[in-house]
C-alpha cells in the first residue's frame, strides 16, 4: 500500500497533473485543445522531451547539466552547416551531429567522474567551450536546413506530427536500453546507490561517463529536430532549453540528487509544460506571465512532492510506533 503510494508520488503524479491540466483546458479554454493548437504544441513538447531525457540521465547520476544550450546548438549547427542545403549530405550531417553530442557529453562525464569536478562547474565549462566552438564554426551567421528535412519536420504520419513520432522512437529506444539491457540496469543501479554499486563490483565511473555521453546524444538529437522544425535556427538556438529541461525532469519526479529516474515521466512533464504554455497563451496572457506561471507551477509541484513525502514519513513512523507499542505491550 505504502509502496503503491510512493510510486504514484514519484513518477505517477505527473500523469495525474497532466490529466487535470487537460481537463482544466477543456473548461476554461477549449480552443487550446483544438486540432491546430495541439498540432502546434506537439512538436515543441516532443523536442523538449528528447532534450529533457538527456537531463534525466544526468540527474540520475546526481548531476545537473548546464551544457544543454551548447549541446543543442551544436546539433543544430552541424545539421545545417555541413550539408549547406545539399540533400545528399543530410544523413551524414545528422550522424555527425549525434556523434559530436555524444563526444562532448563524454567530455562532461570524464570531467565529473575522472576529474572529480562538481557537475555544475564541469558542464558550465564545457558549455562555454561549445559556445565558443559554435561561434567560430558558424562565423556568427545561421544557415537554412536541407529543404528535404525541413519538409519532413512539418509532415504528419497518420495525423501525428513527424517530429513527435521521431521523438517517441528516440525515447523508447533510450527507455528500452535502460530498462531491458544489462548495461542499462547497471546504469540505474549506479545512480540509485553508487556505494552499493561499487561494492557489487561495478565500475561506477564508466556508467557515469556513459550517462553523460548518452545525454549529449539526446541533446544533439533534440538540436537536429529543432533545426529541422525551425528551418533556419539561430546559432545559439539551444539557450532557451536549459531551464525547461531541468523543469521537466523535476516535475517528472526524478530527483536532482540522483537515484531512480523515469524518462517516460519526464516526457509527460514536457507535454505538461508545453500544454501549460498553450493554455496561458490561449487565455491571452503575454509571454512574461507565461514564465511566471510556469515557475509557480514548478514551485507548487515541488512543494507538493515534499509535503506528500513528509506525510508518508510521518505515517510510516506512526505505523512503526504502533508496532513497537504492541510488541512491548504498552498503550
Amino acid at each position: 500500500m505504502i509502496a503503491q503510494r510512493l510510486s504514484l508520488g514519484s513518477f505517477g503524479a505527473i500523469w495525474v497533473a497532466t490529466a487535470l491540466l487537460f481537463a482544466l483546458c477543456l473548461v476554461i479554454a477549449p480552443s487550446s485543445l483544438s486540432n491546430s493548437s495541439l498540432m502546434a504544441m506537439l512538436p515543441y513538447a516532443a523536442i523538449l522531451a528528447v532534450i529533457a531525457a538527456g537531463q534525466t540521465l544526468v540527474a540520475q547520476q546526481a548531476g545537473i547539466d548546464l551544457s544543454v544550450p551548447g549541446m543543442v546548438s551544436l546539433g543544430a549547427i552541424f545539421v545545417t552547416k555541413i550539408p549547406d542545403q545539399a540533400p545528399h549530405l543530410m544523413l551524414p550531417a545528422i550522424l555527425v551531429s549525434i556523434v559530436a553530442g555524444v563526444a562532448a557529453g563524454a567530455g562532461n562525464g570524464l570531467c565529473v567522474a575522472v576529474g572529480r569536478i562538481t557537475p555544475i562547474v564541469a558542464t558550465l565549462g564545457t558549455n562555454a567551450l561549445l559556445m565558443g566552438f559554435i561561434q567560430w564554426y558558424s562565423r556568427g551567421f545561421p544557415t537554412p536546413i536541407v529543404p528535404l528535412l525541413g519538409d519532413w519536420a512539418v509532415s504528419q504520419v497518420f495525423g501525428i506530427p513527424a517530429i513527435a513520432v521521431a521523438a517517441v522512437g528516440i525515447l523508447s529506444t533510450v527507455q528500452l536500453i535502460i530498462r531491458a539491457t544489462i548495461a542499462g540496469r547497471r546504469f540505474e543501479a549506479v545512480g540509485a546507490n553508487p556505494l552499493a554499486a561499487t561494492a557489487a563490483g561495478l565500475h561506477t565511473d564508466r556508467y557515469v561517463v556513459a550517462g553523460y555521453a548518452a545525454a549529449g546524444g539526446c541533446y544533439a538529437a533534440g538540436g537536429v529536430l529543432l533545426a529541422a522544425f525551425l528551418k533556419t535556427p539561430d546559432i545559439f538556438v539551444g539557450e532557451s532549453y536549459l531551464l525547461p529541461s531541468v523543469a521537466a525532469v523535476v516535475l517528472g519526479g526524478t530527483a536532482l540528487t540522483g537515484g531512480l529516474g523515469s524518462i517516460v515521466a519526464t516526457a509527460v512533464a514536457a507535454v505538461f509544460l508545453s500544454q501549460l504554455g498553450q493554455l496561458v497563451l490561449s487565455v491571452g496572457a503575454p509571454t512574461p506571465v507565461q514564465w511566471i506561471i510556469q515557475a509557480l507551477t514548478i514551485a507548487m509541484g515541488m512543494a507538493w512532492r515534499q509535503s506528500s513525502l513528509r506525510v508518508l514519513v510521518a505515517r510510516m513512523r506512526s505505523a512503526l510506533g504502533y508496532k513497537i507499542a504492541r510488541a512491548t505491550g504498552g498503550y
Binding site: V121, A122, A128, G132, F133, V289, A295
Partner: protein, 280 residues
C-alpha cells in the same frame, strides 16, 4: 574596464556568501536586471530626489523580497537551492519582461554620471566593491557571523549541535546575496542607462565562474571573498584581452571555459593531495 567590472564583483561577492552556506543562487543575474528595470521607471529625466529615493528604495525592497523568498522556498518547502532559485530566476525574468517588454526609460544622465564618478582614474563604485570584498573577508574570518556561515556550510548538523541559529544564518546569506546583486544592478544600470529586461541575466553564470576561479568549494564552507574578487577581475581581463589582441570572439568563450575547467581540476587535485597528506 574597472567600470565594466564593478557589477560582476558585487554579484560574485553575493554568490560567494550563498556558496559558503553550501547553497547556490541562480537568481542573482535576474535580480540585478530587475533592479535596473525598476529604477528605469523612476530615474528618467528630469530626476528629483523623491524619484531617486522611491526608485532605488523600491528596487531594494524587491531584491530583499527575492532573497527572503529564496530562503522560504529552500528552508520551508525543502526544495533544493538549485530548483528554488531556478524558480525565482524564471519569476524575476518574467516580471522584468512584464514591466518592460522592450528596453525603455532612459536613465537621467546625471544619475549615471553620479554612479560612475571617479577618484583620479578609479571609479568610486569599484573602490566600494573592493572595500566590500575586504570587509566581507575580515567579517568571515574574524566575527561570529563568518564562523556561523562557515559552520553551517561545512556541516549543518554539527553547526546545529554547536548552537548556531541555522535559519537566521541561511536567511542572512540569501538576503545579503540579493542585496549585493541589487548593488550590482545599480552599477549595471549606470552602464546601460536604459531599462533593458534582458540585462544582467548572464551574470548568474559569470558569478559562479568567478567564485569557482577564486577557489570556492561548491560543497560549502570553503572560499574567500578576495578570491571571488580576483576571479571577477580575471574574467573581465580575459574578455578585454580577446578584443584588444583581435582574437576571434569565440576565444572569449574558450578562455572562460578552459579557465573554469582548469581551475576546478587544479583545486580538486590540490584538495585531494592535501587530504592524502593528512592521512599519511
Amino acid at each position: 574596464m574597472l567600470t565594466l567590472l564593478t557589477p560582476l564583483i558585487f554579484i560574485a561577492l553575493g554568490q560567494m556568501i550563498v556558496l559558503l552556506s553550501a547553497g547556490i543562487d541562480l537568481s542573482v543575474g535576474p535580480v540585478a536586471g530587475l533592479t535596473a528595470v525598476v529604477c528605469s521607471f523612476f530615474l528618467v529625466e528630469p530626476v528629483g530626489a523623491g524619484d531617486i529615493v522611491s526608485g532605488v528604495g523600491l528596487a531594494l525592497l524587491a531584491s530583499l523580497a527575492v532573497g527572503i523568498l529564496n530562503w522560504c522556498l529552500i528552508r520551508k518547502t525543502l526544495v533544493t537551492p538549485v530548483i528554488a532559485t531556478l524558480v525565482t530566476f524564471m519569476c524575476i525574468r518574467g516580471s522584468s519582461l512584464w514591466l518592460r517588454s522592450i528596453p525603455g526609460g532612459l536613465t537621467d544622465g546625471r544619475v549615471c554620471d553620479w554612479l560612475a564618478a571617479r577618484v583620479g582614474p578609479v571609479p568610486i563604485g569599484f573602490i566600494v566593491a573592493a572595500l566590500a570584498a575586504l570587509a566581507l573577508e575580515v567579517l568571515l574570518r574574524r566575527t561570529r557571523w563568518g564562523l556561523c556561515l562557515r559552520a553551517v556550510g561545512s556541516s549543518e548538523i554539527n553547526a546545529r549541535k554547536a548552537g548556531v541559529s541555522i535559519e537566521l544564518t541561511y536567511l542572512g546569506a540569501y538576503s545579503s546575496c540579493a542585496l549585493l546583486s541589487f548593488a550590482g544592478g545599480l552599477m549595471l544600470m549606470a552602464q546601460i542607462g536604459i531599462g533593458d529586461p534582458g540585462a544582467g541575466v548572464n551574470y548568474t553564470l559569470t558569478s559562479i565562474t568567478a567564485v569557482v576561479l577564486g577557489g570556492a568549494s561548491l560543497f560549502g564552507g570553503r572560499g574567500s571573498f578576495i578570491g571571488a574578487f580576483m576571479g571577477a577581475m580575471l574574467i573581465q581581463q580575459v574578455m578585454n584581452v580577446t578584443t584588444f589582441i583581435r582574437l576571434n570572439s569565440a576565444w572569449q568563450f574558450w578562455l572562460i571555459g578552459i579557465l573554469i575547467i582548469a581551475a576546478a581540476l587544479l583545486y580538486s587535485g590540490l584538495r585531494a593531495g592535501r587530504r592524502q597528506g593528512t592521512v599519511a
